[in-house]
Amino acid sequence: MSLPSRLLGANPSIQVSTLLSGSLSTPSAKGAFFETHYESISTTTVSTEAVDTVTFSNIPTFYTHLQVRILARSTRPYGGNAVDGLNILANGTAFTKSHHMLGDGGSISAGIDYPIIFFPDDGAGIAGNYGGAIIDILDYSNLNKNKTFRGLAGFDNNTSSAPGSITLNSGFFGTTSAITSLTFTFQYGGIIKQHSQFALYGIRG
């Protein structure tokens, strides 16, 4: 929302049709201007299907935590499970260890050192379907701690069997260096589908 709209009172046109009683508050009711501690750092939106990697470099170190919000799909044509695995590298190095717990609509499994996050590919399923992921990288600039992340990711394909999954992820990066770059790359050979988006945010402490 642009600054002028904030100063004028955010979202003055929003409508509520089913609130029979109770209270309704909008930002303008709380104050004309909102300053949050969650800031947009950088975004990559894929306009041309040409690469299998997205990198955020020169990440500033003055935030406390990072969050990456991803909506993506792979062009990998393989039918099979119709998924591609997105790996995460910090400072050019893969995370030392990762775990995940995955529900596929029929059962739950757990894994270690698998591709970090699964996204749909072009091998099967719905063409316009992109998977989502939210990755939190905690205390990424602290020079006394090894680095960890947690993730929540998934996609659904409106099919009664695979593909489609919801996944809890964790990762460990055995270094106390500040993370100044993050790389996301599909590891099964697919490139990143047009309209995929990777958005990096910083959270102040």
Binding site: G22, L102, G154, I166
Partner: protein, 167 residues
């Protein structure tokens, strides 16, 4: 860096209601986050969401759920909404329920819409994560949170936030 993650609107129920609607959602953000903290007492009630008042069978979801003794995963296809909360309530007690729903790229008109949600019940049973799909490329300008039975109780709150990506 531009500040974002802004509250768009909060609703607090002054009396029981079977649904909560956010309409005329501005299309000026990238993602939406809906945070719900509510109470209901109906056994086996399901809380679901719909977009743009679409009641067709254009939704699906995959869920992973734990109830303290077992874990399961289930899926719904060709559904008329996306579950974001489902809590069996064998004891009949009021269920305190929390939900955080992330809707990705709601304002683009090129991709189907994906959501990821987490729902917990603090006093009865269950924690769940879910991914939902709406097979529609339309910009989302309305979100309905709908009970399958019974009502959300007085005091239930729902807040919608907008997150804007960097240019």
């Amino acid at each position: 860096m531009p500040s974002t993650y802004e509250p768009i609107q909060t609703q607090t129920l002054g009396s029981a209601a079977s649904s909560i609607t956010f309409s005329s959602i501005p299309d000026t953000y990238t993602d939406l986050v809906v945070v719900v903290q509510g109470t209901y007492s109906t056994s086996d009630a399901i809380i679901s969401l719909r977009y743009n008042n679409d009641t067709g069978t254009n939704y699906s979801q995959t869920s992973m759920y734990g109830n303290g003794s077992s874990a399961l995963s289930y899926r719904s296809i060709d559904a008329s909404s996306i579950q974001v909360g489902w809590y069996p309530n064998p004891g009949g007690a009021a269920v305190v329920s929390n939900m955080v729903i992330n809707v990705f790229n709601y304002s683009n008109s090129t991709t189907y819409k994906t959501s990821i949600s987490r729902g917990d019940t603090t006093n009865v049973q269950g924690v769940a994560v879910r991914v939902g799909l709406w097979r529609n490329t339309a910009v989302i300008n309305r979100i309905d949170l709908v009970m399958s039975a019974g009502n959300l109780q007085t005091g239930t709150t729902a807040t919608i936030y907008g997150i804007l990506k960097a240019a």
